[in-house]
């Protein structure tokens, strides 16, 4: 490090560098000293100072560690802690972060404990991933414990209180002293062999560190680790921590809380079921109500076709009426037209011209009848005149004066001379009013006749 080239550090930078350096240097150490200034604020962390004749150092035990301390930390107490160094940067304090605390003087047992714990931890026996969940409502519970201790009583009491139907198989084992660990491990294995229980409580009541020691023995830890059945550990009091606790699927602070951990409250379950089924029914009924309401709304809103039909029927009646009216109006137009035509036809019948024709003919007839008789009368008059003239000129008038005319009957010739006849000749003498048929008797010449 060249002073000339070193940059000027900020406090924060330096503090951070120191922290890093300390933390990497003092990662895991054991420290022995006297406790003073113990302080435990609401956070649950614990702060105290460790000192010896010459020095002192700040220490902090975080809440998770505090919970594991199986004794109370008091000023003046000599303890051994396992920890690491760190720096609290806001104040620049360096302090020991305590990982575990043991009272001073535990000695070899404690070391053995720590060594086994480390080894088993390295095997992964304490991994959180190995831990299995506890059954919600096991039908049968196994308990590996001593019949003589308070633990069995506490467990049975709690079980019966919470879940009176819970069946239990007890595997009685000694829980302290020589051989206890092996019996406990046997009990656990036996229980697995029987296969009747769904969860197993391994337990004993409170006692000294030494009393509880069998639960730190490897055979027990491995039996728990090998168990197919989930295991709940409940050893000693809350402050007591054993390796059995580390390896168990669940660590209960006390036997009572182990019993609580493996059983639900039966009454609560029943109530929950009853409540749920009530909600199921209500939900169903509610839905039915909604559907029924919707259905009834639709049904009551449905218009009846009778209205439509009635409307249509009225329409048709109206049209029907108009139809009849319209057709009778048609007749009321046509009929008068025909009637007036008929009147005109009659008024102009040929009768009048017939009568007129007949009048003309009769007039002509009268003229005809009159004209011919008058014509005939005319002709007759003319004839009469001529006839009168003729009568006036009649030669018969001469005869009437005494003359007569003689003619030969045979020839009709006039007899002018006596020589025209001879005796015996038949003659006819004409007078004015007739004639005489005669025969000549004598022919005599007349003297007075002058022959010239």
């Amino acid at each position: 490090m060249a002073n000339s080239t070193n940059p000027v550090l900020t406090v924060t930078q330096l503090t951070s560098l120191v922290r890093t350096s300390l933390e990497s240097e003092f990662l895991d150490f054991w420290l022995e000293g006297e406790v003073s200034n113990v302080r435990m604020p609401a956070s649950g962390h614990m702060y105290f100072t460790l000192k010896d004749a010459n020095s002192q150092i700040r220490a902090v035990a975080f809440r998770s560690i505090v919970r594991q301390i199986r004794f109370s930390l008091e000023d003046g107490l000599q303890i051994v802690v396992r920890g690491r160094m760190t720096v609290y940067e806001p104040r620049g304090d360096f302090q020991v972060v305590v990982e575990s605390i043991e009272p001073k003087g535990v000695g070899a047992l404690q070391i053995a404990f720590e060594q086994l714990k480390t080894r088993l931890a390295q095997e992964g026996l304490f991994d959180q991933t190995r831990k299995r969940g506890l059954p919600f409502l096991p039908q049968k519970i196994g308990i590996v414990t001593s019949l003589s201790g308070a633990a069995i009583r506490d467990i049975l009491t709690v079980l019966h209180r919470r879940c009176p139907i819970m069946s239990v198989v007890i595997y009685p084992v000694p829980v302290q002293g020589e051989g206890a660990a092996v019996r406990i491990a046997q009990g656990i294995r036996q229980c697995n062999q029987m296969g009747e229980v769904e969860v197993l409580i391994v337990s004993r009541g409170g006692g000294s560190w030494e009393d509880l020691w069998c639960f730190n023995e490897e055979v027990v830890v491995r039996a728990i680790a090998d168990s197919d059945i989930p295991v709940v550990s409940a050893v000693g009091h809350e402050i007591d921590v054993t390796l059995a606790d580390f390896v168990a699927d669940y660590r209960a602070a006390t036997p009572s809380s182990a019993a609580e951990a493996v059983t639900p409250v039966l009454r609560d379950i029943k109530e929950s079921i009853a409540m749920n089924v009530g909600r199921v029914i209500q939900g169903m009924e509610h839905q039915l109500q909604i559907f029924r309401h919707r259905f009834q709304t639709a049904q009551s809103a449905c218009p009846h076709p009778a209205h439509i039909i009635q409307h249509h029927a009225q329409c048709i009646d109206d049209l029907d009426h108009r139809l009849t009216q319209a057709i009778s109006r048609v007749y009321s137009v046509w009929r008068p037209r025909i009637d007036s035509l008929r009147v005109s036809l009659n008024a102009h019948s040929p009768r009048r011209s017939i009568r007129q024709g007949s009048l003309v003919i009769h007039q002509l007839l009268v003229r005809l009848q009159n004209v011919l008789p008058s014509l005939v009368t005319l002709k007759r008059r003319e004839l009469q005149r001529v006839i009168t003239l003729l009568q006036d000129l009649s030669p018969l008038a001469t005869l009437a004066r005494g003359y007569s005319m003689v003619e030969l009957v045979a020839s009709g010739d006039i007899v002018r001379s006596i020589g025209d006849v001879e005796v015996g000749t038949r003659i006819r003498a004409r007078l004015f009013d007739g004639h005489l048929s005669c025969k000549v008797e004598k022919v005599q010449k007349d003297a007075s006749h002058l022959d010239l």
């Binding site: 008789p373 003729l390 030669p395």
Partner: protein, 81 residues
């Protein structure tokens, strides 16, 4: 007789009258034409009578019985026969 027309007869009759009026005919001839004249006039008269009767008949036929009777009570018409 039917062949001779009334008007021809009448004119013959008039010529007979004219000849007779001349008076230069022998009695004999006078007598002959006079007799002819008489015949003709009779013929003419008959023609007229016939015509009149015919008209009457026709008129009667036309008018039927009643008129016929009406006719038959017309004396002037009778005179014409």
């Amino acid at each position: 007789m039917a062949t001779i027309k009334f008007e021809e007869a009448l004119s013959r009759l008039e010529s007979i009258v004219a000849e007779l009026e001349k008076g230069d005919l022998p009695l004999n001839d006078s007598l002959k034409i006079f007799e002819e004249g008489v015949k003709i006039s009779k013929t003419c008269l008959k023609m007229l009578d016939d015509a009149e009767r015919k008209v009457e008949i026709m008129v009667q036929e036309k008018d039927g019985k009643k008129r016929l009777e009406a006719f038959s009570v017309e004396p002037p018409k009778e005179e014409l026969n």
